[in-house]
C-alpha cells in the first residue's frame, strides 16, 4: 500500500514536471527552432505602414472611443467562448506600451506569441497568422509602430475562468497548433498571387474570423476561410472561398472594391467587425487589394460549416 502511494506521488511529480517542461516558452523554440531575428538595416517605414494597415493592428489595439486609429493604447474588450480578453497597449510608451522592447522581442511576440519576459500570449492575438511574416517585414512594422504617439495607461487584465486563466497551458496549445513556418513563395504562381496569399494568410489574418474553430480554439483546417459563427458570439461570418455560398459570383474587381470602400456588388455596406477591417484595407494600395482578391479568387470552394440551430422567436 505504501509502495503504491509512493509510486502515485512519483507519477504525479513526473506529470507535473513534464507539463512544466512541455509548456515552457523555451521548449517551443527547441521543438520548432528559434525564429530568425537578424535585421540588416534601418526599417523601411513605408513598408511598415503598409503592414500596419494590412495587419489590422488598430482594430484591436486602438484606444476605444476616439477616432485616431494610430493611438494604440489598447483596452478594447474581446468577448470569446473562453472569456473576455483586453487588447494591450502597443503604443511606443516606454512603461505601458512597447517602447522598451527591442526588435528581436517584437519578432518573437509576433511569430511565437511570447512576451519579452517569457510569458505566452493568448491566441486571441493572431500570431498563428502573423508567424508567416519574416524578420525584415516585422522589423519594418516595428519601426513604424515606434513612430506613433506614446499612449499612457495599461489595459485591464483578461477575465478568464479556470482553466483558461493558466497561461502556461498555452505552451501545449502552441506545440499542437503553431507550426512556426514563415511564408514561402510558390514559384509556379504569379508574383501577384504570392503577394495576395501573403497578405491574406499572414498579416491580414482573414482566416482568424472567416473560419470555424474546433473546441480547442484552433481553426478547422479543411474548413479554412469557409466562414463560421462569429467568435464574438453574434451572427455568422461569411464564407470567402469560391463556394456558391461564398465569393464564387464575385469578380476580382468586386473583392478589391469591397476592401476599398466596404460595398458589396449589390451596394450593401458591410458592417459588424468587418467595418474596422475596411477602415484598414482602405489604406492599402490598389495593387495590394488586387493581390488579395487574386488569391481569394484562386481558393477551392469549401461549403460553409453548419449554422447554429435557429432560435425560436
Amino acid at each position: 500500500m505504501k509502495k503504491l502511494l509512493v509510486a502515485l506521488v512519483v507519477l504525479l511529480a513526473l506529470g507535473a514536471a513534464g507539463f512544466w517542461l512541455l509548456t515552457a516558452p523555451s521548449t517551443y523554440e527547441l521543438v520548432r527552432g528559434a525564429p530568425d531575428v537578424t535585421v540588416a538595416s534601418a526599417p523601411n517605414l513605408e513598408n511598415g505602414r503598409t503592414l500596419f494597415w494590412a495587419g489590422g493592428c488598430a482594430s484591436c489595439h486602438a484606444t476605444p472611443g476616439q477616432d485616431d486609429r494610430t493611438r494604440l493604447g489598447g483596452g478594447l474588450a474581446l468577448e470569446s467562448p473562453f472569456g473576455t480578453f483586453h487588447a494591450p497597449n502597443i503604443s511606443p510608451h516606454p512603461r505601458d506600451g512597447i517602447g522598451g522592447w527591442d526588435v528581436a522581442s517584437f519578432i518573437r511576440a509576433m511569430r511565437e506569441g511570447v512576451s519579452p519576459d517569457g510569458r505566452h500570449y493568448y491566441p486571441a492575438f493572431p500570431y498563428t497568422s502573423y508567424q508567416r511574416m519574416g524578420a525584415s517585414d516585422l522589423a519594418d512594422l516595428f519601426g513604424f509602430l515606434k513612430t506613433l504617439s506614446a499612449v499612457e495607461g495599461r489595459a485591464p487584465d483578461h477575465v478568464l475562468p479556470f482553466p483558461y486563466n493558466l497561461r502556461r497551458g498555452l505552451g501545449l496549445w502552441k506545440l499542437a497548433f503553431l507550426d512556426g513556418k514563415q511564408a514561402q513563395s510558390d514559384p509556379s504562381k504569379s508574383a501577384e498571387w504570392n503577394r495576395g496569399r501573403y497578405l491574406v494568410e499572414g498579416p491580414g489574418h482573414c482566416a482568424e474570423c472567416h473560419s470555424p474553430r474546433a473546441f480547442t480554439g484552433a481553426i478547422v483546417a479543411d474548413k479554412r476561410l469557409s466562414g463560421g459563427p462569429d467568435p464574438e458570439g453574434k451572427g455568422f461570418v461569411p464564407n470567402i472561398t469560391q463556394h456558391e455560398a461564398g465569393l464564387k459570383s464575385w469578380s476580382k474587381a468586386d473583392i478589391a472594391e469591397l476592401l476599398k470602400t466596404g460595398f458589396t456588388p449589390e451596394y450593401d455596406a458591410v458592417g459588424g467587425s468587418m467595418g474596422p477591417v475596411i477602415r484598414n484595407t482602405s489604406q492599402l494600395g490598389d495593387a495590394d487589394r488586387g493581390a488579395m482578391a487574386e488569391y481569394l479568387k484562386s481558393l477551392p470552394p469549401v461549403a460553409s460549416p453548419p449554422r447554429p440551430a435557429k432560435k425560436a422567436d
Partner: protein, 145 residues
C-alpha cells in the same frame, strides 16, 4: 358568451401584433434593399463604369432621404427578432444613437443634393454620404449569412 368574445378579441389582437411585427421587418428590409439598388447607378459613376447622370444621382439622394425618414419608425419593441431580421440588439439599447445616425444620413444626403451640380461636385460630395451606410451597419446590424 362574453368569455368567447374576449377570447376572440384577444386572439385577434395577438394576431394583429404578429402581423404588424413581421410587417415592419419586411418593410425595413424592402427600404434597405431600395437604398442598395438606388446606389448602383451612382456607385458605377464613382468607379467610372457608367457615365455621370445628374438626374440619377439626385434620385438616389432623394431615396436616401426618404429611407432615413421612414426607417427610425420601424423598430417597435416587438420587432427585435423574427423574419430574416439582421437588426442588432444594440438598436433597442441605444435608440437615440440609432435615430441620430439616420438624422445624419438624411442631413448628409440633403447637403450633397444641394452641392452636386456636375461630375466634379458629385465626386467631391457623394462618397461622404455613402460613409453613413457602413458606419451604421458596423454598430446596429448583425451579419447572419
Amino acid at each position: 358568451m362574453l368569455r368567447i368574445a374576449i377570447a376572440t378579441i384577444a386572439v385577434a389582437l395577438g394576431a394583429t401584433a404578429v402581423v404588424a411585427q413581421s410587417d415592419v421587418i419586411a418593410q425595413r428590409r424592402e427600404i434597405m434593399k431600395g437604398v442598395g439598388a438606388a446606389t448602383k447607378d451612382p456607385g458605377g459613376m464613382l468607379k467610372g463604369e457608367t457615365p455621370f447622370d445628374l438626374a440619377k444621382v439626385q434620385k438616389a439622394l432623394a431615396t436616401y432621404q426618404d429611407a432615413a425618414q421612414k426607417m427610425p419608425t420601424l423598430y417597435p419593441e416587438n420587432s427585435k427578432t423574427g423574419g430574416e431580421t439582421t437588426a442588432a440588439p444594440k438598436i433597442w439599447e441605444d435608440m437615440a444613437g440609432f435615430k441620430d445616425h439616420f438624422a445624419k444620413f438624411a442631413a448628409d444626403a440633403q447637403k450633397a443634393s444641394a452641392a452636386i451640380k456636375d461630375e466634379a461636385t458629385f465626386k467631391a460630395n457623394f462618397p461622404a454620404v455613402l460613409k453613413n451606410c457602413g458606419g451604421c451597419h458596423e454598430t446596429y446590424r448583425v451579419k447572419k449569412s
